[in-house]
Each structure stands twice: as structure tokens, then as C-alpha cells.
Amino acid sequence: MIDTLMLSRIQFAANISFHILFPMITIAMCWFLVYFKIRLHTSGDPVWMRAYRFWVKVFALTFAIGVVSGITMSFQFGTNWPGYMETVGNIAGPLLGYEVLTAFFLEATFLGIMLFGMDRISPRLHTFATMIVALGTTTSAFWILALNSWMQTPSGFEMRDGVAFPVDWMEIIFNPSLPYRFAHTLIASGLTASFLICGLSAYRILKGDSKRAPLLTLKTAICVAAILTPLQVFVGDLHGLNTLEHQPQKIAAMEGVWETQKGAPLLLFALPDEKTRSNHFEIPVPKLASLILTHDSEGEIKGLNEFKNEHPPVAPLFFGFRIMVGIGMLMLLLSWTGVWQLIRRKSVNTLTLKAFLVMTFSGWIATLAGWYVTEIGRQPYLVSGILRTSDAVTTVPASSVTISLTLYLLVYTGLLIAYLHTLFLMARRAVEIEEISPQEQHNSTSNFPLHSSPMNLSPLLAKEPTS
């Protein structure tokens, strides 16, 4: 029988893993929508409106699932982790409160105007509303990452009778790991959204969609991805250095380093074994880990044995980190291939389109792998050095948690299937129909053809334009 602690951990992991999938898309996608709207204003080309119109539907669906799965989170702390609020509630509470006050209401209210108000307000005001929603989602990410970072690298507080009290709010909010985590997560969101846009646009084109909009969104997202991937490598490196400074045990687990050593190798593969406290089947690259982490090939890396009983489980971190980096490398390769083809031929060939389709949800996998590394990497603590996870758990009987966990898992599985199914259904429908509002037909000038010239799409044009 699994106990309440383990069940609660699984439930929290399930809830937050499911939830994060959706904000990771919407945070950045809303800025894409703002960009489409601004291009519409500056160029007057209605194709930007059609790009907006397709992606705003994807955005609305994604956002809705993100909102409702997020409400669950605000109850979870109380239902399953009462010790969390008892010990650090004085700090966590206000940060969550500011998220609700400055972000949730803003995004929810203006989302209504953005989705349904286009006929009722001026186009520029509508673009403004879209921008407010984007600002809201990004602000929300800021506050929740401030709290998460504080749990990783707490500062600006003092302990009195086992309870944390705030001393300096600026230090609490801008704690040591926040800038890196915030940047790393925002860029990850950018990549998740970019690859989703690339993937679904590629799918439309592969299904014979010869309209201009999918190619345009594909091009836009490829360019964004090509810029963000190297940037993410750079920021990720900085984040790693920050972690080495504040949470060396996490780095040791990620790198599979058991004994403190100088000139540590980078392990491309290994099977870490906590019983023998060593690795099997190592494939090392000499001195590379030290070089990356300390920027000195003879730099010292602290091993796991220095943190006996105080370090996280090794295997999930070791593999999670490699999955994240591996996907990052694939993203770099694919986005640059795309850009190179766009420059040379002004189009993307079928093989590359298929590769983008395969990578549609690669951002999700990389994000989850990365979050598992950082969250499991904080164990056995819930708040580093202050509160152990096992001390925070509820006294609710295991049977109740089993019921709730089962319900959540059923609902989440169903929703995930419905979500994926609906995205591709919407894409297939968009291949058939191009929605043009009467107003747009009236306004659009003949300067802008509804369809691309064949030259642009030579390898892709299979079907006659549909409207």
C-alpha cells in the first residue's frame, strides 16, 4: 500500500505537470498573436488576420485548460500540503496573492474582450486588449516563478519558532535563482509555442493547404525558434552556474558525479546506481563537465558523497537533464535547417516539414524534463534547507487521496486526448475552409492576393486554392 505522502506527491506532480503544459504554450503564443495583429495594422495585408484567427482559436482552447487546471493548484496546498502554509505561508501567501491580483484578473477579463469583442471595439483597441492579455500571462509567470525560485534558493526571511517571517520583500522576490529561472522558462515557453506553430502549420501544408497563412506562420515561428534556441543554450548555462553555486547537490546528481573531483568528465550516458554509489556503462568526455560548469578544465565539482542523505534521487535528474538537452539540440538543428532552406529556396522541403510535425510537442517534453530536474533536484526538501517534503504532508487518509488521484488522472488523460485530437481537427478544417469576414472582404484591396504565388510554394502546391 502506498502511503499518503507518496500519493500526495504523485498527485501534486500529476496536477502541476498537466497544468504547466498549457501556460507554457499560452505565455509565448499570446505575444505571437500580438505580433500578427501589429503586422496587420502596419501592412494592411489581411493574411495576418487569417493567421491570427486560426491561432487565436488554438490559444483560447489552450488557455481554458490552463485556467481550470490552475484553479486546482490553489486548493492543493491546503488539501495535501498543510505544512507548507504553516511553515512558509507568510511568504508564499502574498506572492500567490499578487499573482491573482495583478495577473489573473487582468488576463481573464481582457481575454473575454480579445476573444469575443472584435465587433464591438476598434481594431487598435482590440490589439491593445490582446497585448494586455499577453502582459497578464507573462506577469503571472513572474510571480509564480518568484515563489518557485524562493523555494529553491530562499532569502530575505528569518525563522522564528519554526515559522518563516519576511524581512526584506525585494530580497524574497528577487532571490538568487529568479532571474535565471524566469529567463530560462520564458524562452522555453517561446520555444514550446514556436514548435507548436511550426508543427501544426507544417501539418496543414502537408495536408495540401496552399493558402498563404500557414506558410507565413511557419516562417515566423521558424525564425523565432532559430533565434531562441542558441539564446536558451546561453541562458541555460548561466542557470546551471547559478545552481552550482546555490544547490551543488543538484548539479552533482545531474552530472552523475559521486566523488568530488577536479577535471570531471561529461557523461554522455551512464546508469547511475544509488546502492553501489557509482555509475555503470559510462560514456565520458574527459574534463568537459568541469569546463562547462566552472569554465576551467581542471575545475572542482563536488560529488554526491559530500551530501549523504541530503541529496536528491540521482537517476531522474541524470536522465531528465539529458532528455532536455537532447531535445534542445534537435530544436537547434531543425530550426537552423529551416532557416537555411528559407534563405536558399524561400520554402521548406517536405522532409523538413515532416520533421517539424514530429517535433510539434517537443517543447512539452523538454519543459517537463527540465522541471523534473529542478523540482526533484530540490528533494528531500520542499523549501531548500527549511522544510522537508515529508514534514509538510496532510493527515488526510490515503484512501481519500487515492480517490482524488484516480479522478484527476482519468480527467487529465481524457482531456489530453481531446486536446490533441481537437488541435489536429482544427488544422484539417482550416485546410478546407478559409474564413473571411464580410468586413474583411469589403476592406481588402486587390494588392494582396489571397494565395501565395506558385513560386513561393513550388514543392508544396498540390491542390487548387479553395476560395
Partner: protein, 332 residues
């Protein structure tokens, strides 16, 4: 030590306000969900269109209410959610299902649309019942005896009826033609169920809660409370008379029933709040006992004082943008 009672009272009041606004706003959109007719897809589209731009922001008031409980009264937050573990889970699942159904229905084929509409209806009903049950358990002090369970079930039905009542009144205001007439008849029926529910809760509550009895029947203060039952009865009756005559000439006063129900919500809430002040968990924890650190309350007070008025302003703006009868819901 500095006197910080005002901070506790401020956050207690703000939480009460958030709960009241939540009950009114999400109340009407949950109610519209509960009322969705199985057979008539066109009416369902109209009904959904009337709540489309608002439901998301409406639900945020629940997050704010729970948020304030968590920030200002962490001990009460832990206690309440531990005691209400399973009902809270069911509430959340209900809210998840209806929230996503709302969006999925617009994007799938006709067959699936019916399925998602059913999910929307059931999800709305389950959420309303779960909230009513939680309210009943909360009022009674988390007791699992048969009488308490019965009271909680009564409370669940009462809340679901009240939400349907305000939902129907919302439809009277936001729609026209056949649906408006239909909504008026729904509103009358739900109105009477709500009235019976409120009346029985008002009678049962002081009987099983001695402290509540004392507060309500302690002369002469009880005389000052006399307006509460009087006004609510007057509102129920007036509303029923107006609803009977819907649609009036030139749709005159289609908004009056909605305002009437808001008045009833307000009065009932006032009655509940009076019964339990200064307890944040009835009979168990007062606001002062459950409050968090002063430093934290002061920090969030600044933000609240600035941001809440702004939230109210742009909420009003959103209602202004979508003023008048609901039009077809278009996604762009």
C-alpha cells in the same frame, strides 16, 4: 504589540466581498449551464453566447477568495480544505470539466458538440452542488452525523437552485424572444425552490447552532435584523410578479429580475456573515486566531488597496463592451 485588528477585519471583509461577488458572477454562469435544455441546440448556443466573454473572469473571484483565505488566514485555509477534501476535489473536477467543455464545444463536430454540452451541464450542476454541500458543512462545523449530512444536502440543493435562479434572471436580461420567455418561466420555478431552500436553512440553522440562535433572538438587537427576512420576502414576491409578465412592452425593465436576485444574494449573505462574525471557521477559529504574520498582511494590503479598485474598473469596462443583448458568439 501594535493593534492589527483592523488588518484582520479588512481581509475578512475583502474575503467576504470576493465570495459574494463570486456567488453572483459565477452563480449566473453556473446557473446558465445547469439550465441548458437537452433538445434545443439553438437555445444552447444563445445561452453560451450570453456568458462567453465573462465566465473566465467570474471564476477568478473564487481563486481570489481562496487566495485571501490562504494569505490572511492560513490556519483556517488548512483546516477547511482538510475537512472538505473530497467535496473540494469534486468541485474542482466539475469546474475543470465545464470550463473546457465550453471551449471544446465550439471546435468539434455536431455529435461531439452534444456530448460536450452534456458535460457542460453536468459539470455546472456538480460544481454548484459541491459548493452548496461545502457551505453546509462549513456552517455546521464539519460534522458527519446524519442530521448534519441532511443539512448539507439541503444546502447543496439550495445553492444549485439559487444559481439557476440568478442564471435564468441573467438570461431574461441578456436574451430576447422565445428563449427570454422560457428563461422567465425557469426563473419563476427556480425562484420558488430557492425561497423554500433559504427559508428552511434560516429555520434549521439557529436550531442546530445555539450561538446563531443567541445572535438572532437576543432582544433588542434582533429588532435591528428584522429587515433581513422582510426585504428578502419582498424581493422574491416582486420578482415573481415581474417574471410573470415577461416580456414587457419594448422589453422594459428586463434587467429588474436580475437586480432583484442580486439583492436576495446580498441579503442572504449579510445574514450568514452576521451569524458567524468574527469566526472565520464557525465555532472553531476566529479571524484573529487564524491570521498570518502582520508583515505579510501589510505587504499584500498595499497591493490590494491599489489593484482591487482597478480590477473593478476594468470588470465594469468589460460589461460595458458587451452591454445589451447577447449576439452570436464569434471567435475572433
Amino acid at each position: 504589540m501594535m493593534d492589527t485588528t483592523w488588518l484582520h477585519v479588512f481581509f475578512g471583509g475583502l474575503m467576504a466581498l470576493a465570495i459574494l461577488i463570486y456567488a453572483i458572477l459565477d452563480g449566473y454562469d453556473l446557473g446558465v449551464g445547469i439550465l441548458m435544455p437537452r433538445g434545443n441546440i439553438q437555445q444552447r448556443d444563445q445561452m453560451i453566447a450570453s456568458i462567453g466573454p465573462f465566465w473566465d473572469a467570474n471564476e477568478t473571484w473564487l481563486v481570489l477568495a481562496v487566495g485571501i483565505l490562504l494569505i490572511a488566514f492560513p490556519d483556517a485555509y488548512n483546516l477547511v480544505l482538510k475537512e472538505l477534501y473530497l467535496p473540494a476535489t469534486i468541485l474542482l473536477i466539475g469546474l475543470i470539466m465545464r470550463g473546457v467543455a465550453f471551449d471544446f464545444r465550439a471546435k468539434v463536430s455536431l455529435d461531439n458538440k452534444n456530448t460536450w454540452d452534456n458535460i457542460f451541464k453536468i459539470g455546472s450542476l456538480v460544481s454548484a452542488l459541491a459548493q452548496g454541500y461545502m457551505l453546509g458543512q462549513y456552517v455546521i462545523g464539519f460534522d458527519s452525523s446524519w442530521t448534519s449530512q441532511g443539512f448539507s444536502v439541503l444546502s447543496a440543493i439550495c445553492v444549485a437552485a439559487a444559481y439557476s435562479y440568478i442564471g435564468a434572471a441573467w438570461l431574461v436580461m441578456k436574451t430576447e424572444g422565445e428563449l427570454q420567455k422560457q428563461a422567465a418561466s425557469w426563473a419563476r420555478r427556480c425562484g420558488w425552490v430557492t425561497f423554500l431552500g433559504v427559508a428552511s436553512v434560516s429555520i434549521v440553522n439557529p436550531i442546530i447552532n445555539p450561538s446563531v440562535f443567541q445572535k438572532w433572538f437576543d432582544f433588542p438587537t434582533a429588532l435591528l435584523l428584522f429587515h433581513i427576512p422582510l426585504i428578502s420576502i419582498a424581493l422574491f414576491v416582486t420578482n415573481d410578479q415581474i417574471l410573470k409578465r415577461i416580456p414587457l412592452e419594448k422589453d422594459f425593465g428586463c434587467w429588474i429580475p436580475f437586480l432583484g436576485v442580486v439583492g436576495i444574494f446580498f441579503i442572504c449573505f449579510q445574514g450568514l456573515a452576521y451569524s458567524f462574525y468574527p469566526y472565520v471557521v464557525p465555532g472553531k477559529l476566529t479571524m484573529m486566531e487564524a491570521a498570518s504574520a502582520t508583515e505579510s498582511l501589510e505587504f499584500i494590503f498595499i497591493g490590494t488597496a491599489i489593484v482591487v479598485p482597478i480590477i473593478l474598473c476594468y470588470t465594469a469596462l468589460s460589461y460595458r463592451v458587451f452591454w445589451g443583448k447577447a449576439t452570436e458568439l464569434k471567435y475572433y
